[in-house]
């Protein structure tokens, strides 16, 4: 019981998630900067930003609904932390798992986006309202291909649990090759989920200032920022657990492998962020429905055929 709690709160749960999230933000910013021929921030910069924001005054707009305005960042962070429980980090198994936890993880991952939407909506500012509408529009675009891309491998693995899928693919590493299209779709749609360039329309700085978070400041903004960092870790972990499930069977080695895999995913996401321009929201929707969704559907059909053909 106590060990379970420690696992959830300290390692490999919440504490690890936030520390790794800050480290991820540093890596992301550093790589982004180096690709842009800049020096980039020192390693402690994300933490320093976080601490500085914590110490700043929190201003709540007079028109905003105070309770919801304050609760949203916490809910957002909590949802990501809850989702992280079901992803294997240290060793083969996650902290908790059950048949169907993949659906729960996807559900938890939708909550931060909804929180962002509500945050913008309840801020009662034109910029944030517009950002909220864009957040929601974008969500309808990437959510479908992302879910389908993550569910397709489950068809072959015949399990709807993240841990189960990791275990299955670790035993049959060659099956991963079938899932490569879904892997690419998941990475691109994941970039949309994380609202990063080229899919950062909801917070497009030069158009609508900061989108949904325009009225947030101080502690609340710090919480939102850390939630975003954790979401980055979460998406990288989920993608690497499902699509890169190479295991050695040794817990510490697996943990190092986990770090390597997630950092590799992050590097790809940072590269994508550096070499592209921001798409318009309607271009983003077109792209997701025209290209990503058909590929994801095709992947599901292929996986069903493979499953039938191999008699799994």
């Amino acid at each position: 019981m106590i060990l379970g709690l420690l696992k959830i709160i300290v390692f490999p749960g919440f504490m690890f998630l936030t520390v790794y999230g800050l480290l991820f933000e540093y890596l992301d910013r550093k790589v982004h900067a180096r690709l842009q021929n800049r020096i980039g921030p020192p390693w402690y910069q994300p933490l320093a930003d976080f601490l500085k924001l914590i110490g700043k005054e929190t201003i709540i707009p007079a028109d905003a609904n105070k309770t919801i305005f304050q609760i949203l960042p916490v809910v957002s962070l909590a949802a990501v932390a809850a989702a992280f429980v079901y992803v294997p980090v240290f060793g083969k198994a996650s902290i908790a798992s059950f048949q169907g936890d993949l659906i729960v993880v996807l559900y938890f991952l939708s909550i931060p986006t909804m929180c962002l939407f509500l945050a913008g909506w309840y801020s009662r500012s034109v910029y944030s309202t517009l950002g909220s509408v864009r957040t929601l529009t974008q969500m309808f675009a990437y959510e479908v291909p992302l879910f389908m891309a993550l569910l397709a491998p489950a068809l072959i693995a015949k399990t709807w649990s993240v841990t189960g899928m990791t275990a299955f693919y670790a035993e049959h590493p060659l099956y991963i090759l079938i899932n490569i299209p879904a892997f690419i779709v998941a990475l691109i749609a994941g970039q949309g989920k994380l609202e990063r360039v080229p899919f950062d329309t909801p917070e497009a700085e030069t158009e609508i200032v900061a989108g949904p978070l325009v009225e947030y400041s101080g502690r609340l903004l710090a919480l939102f920022r850390i939630a975003v960092d954790c979401e980055l870790v979460m998406v990288a972990s989920l993608v690497s657990a499902i699509f890169l499930p190479f295991m050695t069977g040794h817990a510490i080695l697996d943990f190092i492998l986990y770090l390597v895999k997630t950092v590799a995913v992050l590097l790809f996401l940072a590269l994508m962020r550096s070499v592209m321009a921001r798409l318009r929201v309607e271009q983003m929707v077109h792209f997701c429905w025209k290209y990503l969704t058909p590929i994801a559907i095709l992947q599901i059909i292929v996986n069903l055929l493979v499953r039938g053909g191999l008699g799994l």
Partner: protein, 408 residues
């Protein structure tokens, strides 16, 4: 869509996409722009009025500060006009130096624009690259004039600083390195898909409309009209320099990008030609303090387009009137036309595509006193402002300015 779905969004006067204050009140129907009010005039500094109380040499330094980017072009236009009034012609070497500095300035202005435009569409990597390369250009400008943006090259009757041999080598070295980079940007702009997706078809302005609204510079050239003061009304030594007027037929933001990138390459060629063919000799001739009475219009091609200076002299050492029509001022008129029917996401890049310079534009405000307008002289204008504040309970005259602190 009904009227109820409309949202009014102010872009500016404080907005991250605008580096200077200007207010675009955008009415949106969903994400589509249905109405725009272009509000400028936040940056009025009374420069033209201030010119009337200064002598011609002092004015040069004042006009150099009209714009933070194209400072050289304004002084060139002014000095040219005054030289025409005074009936003096400048040494050929001075004219060459003016052209070299003007073209280096164009390099730095266009690179700055390229960076800003990339930033507006969220392509920060290109922003950083363009500005990194711009640093090399600024270093050369600092070596030429001792300053990064206000180089103080021009004076009436010629230029103040010479470009010696070692500096010429440095400039050539810089242009060689820059040419490689600009070719890379050219390739990038033409092939990178997200960039093309964001730029093509945005801010359409047909050649006909461009003429109707009186657009100038890269904006009109991107609409297929070869209007360039350097070719139309050659000043300095542009008549001797072989160069192409870059035009493009896209008539949108993409076209304006292509025009600017190609102009960078063309400017590099002009600089090389000038450096090679620069004659020896004086760089300045003596100019009189008092300029004979008369009026003159002087035009130059600033990086942003046609820059017009009107000078009226009354035979004293101070001008009667100086009027500056900066290029951005001409380009604002087409802005509403370009923005209507677009997505909000494209508004910042459309605004940025004319390379707006708000401080260039904002020259005069009209005080609406009710029935009639009047002309005020400097002391009365000063009194007016003091009274204006007094009426609102602020006694400016009572504010004590603290004694200047001494540091030595």
């Amino acid at each position: 869509m009904s009227e109820y779905n409309r949202v009014v969004i102010p872009i500016g006067p404080q907005h991250p996409s605008l580096k200077e204050p200007g207010c675009f009140t955008v009415t949106l129907d969903g994400e589509k722009i249905v109405d725009v009010v272009v509000g400028i005039g936040y940056n009025h500094r009374g420069l033209e009025k201030a010119c009337e109380s200064r002598n011609y040499i002092q004015i040069i330094y004042l006009l150099e500060r009209i714009c933070g980017i194209c400072s050289h072009t304004h002084t060139t236009a002014f000095c040219q006009g005054v030289e025409e009034l005074a009936g003096i012609s400048i040494p050929r070497r001075a004219a060459y130096i003016r052209v070299i500095v003007a073209e280096i300035e164009r390099l730095h202005s266009h690179l700055l624009w390229l960076g800003v435009a990339a930033h507006e569409i969220g392509f920060d990597t290109m922003f950083m690259y363009a500005w990194r390369d711009r640093e090399a250009v600024l270093d050369i400008l600092a070596a030429v004039g001792g300053n990064r943006v206000n180089y103080g090259i021009n004076t009436i009757g010629g230029v103040r600083r010479d470009i010696d041999d070692s500096l010429r080598q440095d400039i050539l070295k810089m242009t060689d390195a820059l040419q490689e980079q600009v070719k890379y940007y050219q390739e990038l702009a033409l092939t990178e898909t997200t960039l093309a997706a964001r730029l093509a078809g945005i801010g359409k302005l047909s050649g006909e409309d461009a003429l109707k609204y009186g657009a100038v510079g890269p904006v009109i050239r991107a609409s297929g009209i070869d209007f360039d003061i350097r070719a139309v009304d050659p000043y300095a030594v542009y008549a001797e320099i072989p160069f192409k007027v870059i035009t493009d037929t896209h008539a949108d933001v993409f076209g304006r990008t292509v025009v600017r990138i190609l102009e960078l390459l063309e400017s590099i060629e002009i600089i090389r030609f000038c450096i090679k063919n620069m004659p020896d000799g004086d760089i300045v001739t003596k100019a009189p303090r008092r300029i004979p009475a008369g009026e003159v219009i002087s035009r130059t091609e600033a990086p942003r387009g046609e820059d017009i200076h009107y000078i009226r002299s009354n035979g004293t050492e101070r001008p009667d009137r100086v009027r500056v029509r900066a290029p951005s001022e001409a380009n604002w008129h087409a802005m509403r036309h370009m923005l209507l029917g677009q997505y909000l996401a494209d508004a910042p890049i459309t605004i940025a595509a004319i390379d707006p310079c708000f401080s260039c534009t904002d020259r005069a405000i009209v005080i609406n006193s009710g029935r009639e307008t009047e002309l005020m002289d400097w002391p009365r204008l000063r009194q007016y402002s003091i009274d204006w504040y007094k009426k609102r309970g602020i006694d400016v005259a009572s504010i004590k300015i603290p004694e200047r602190r001494m540091y030595f």
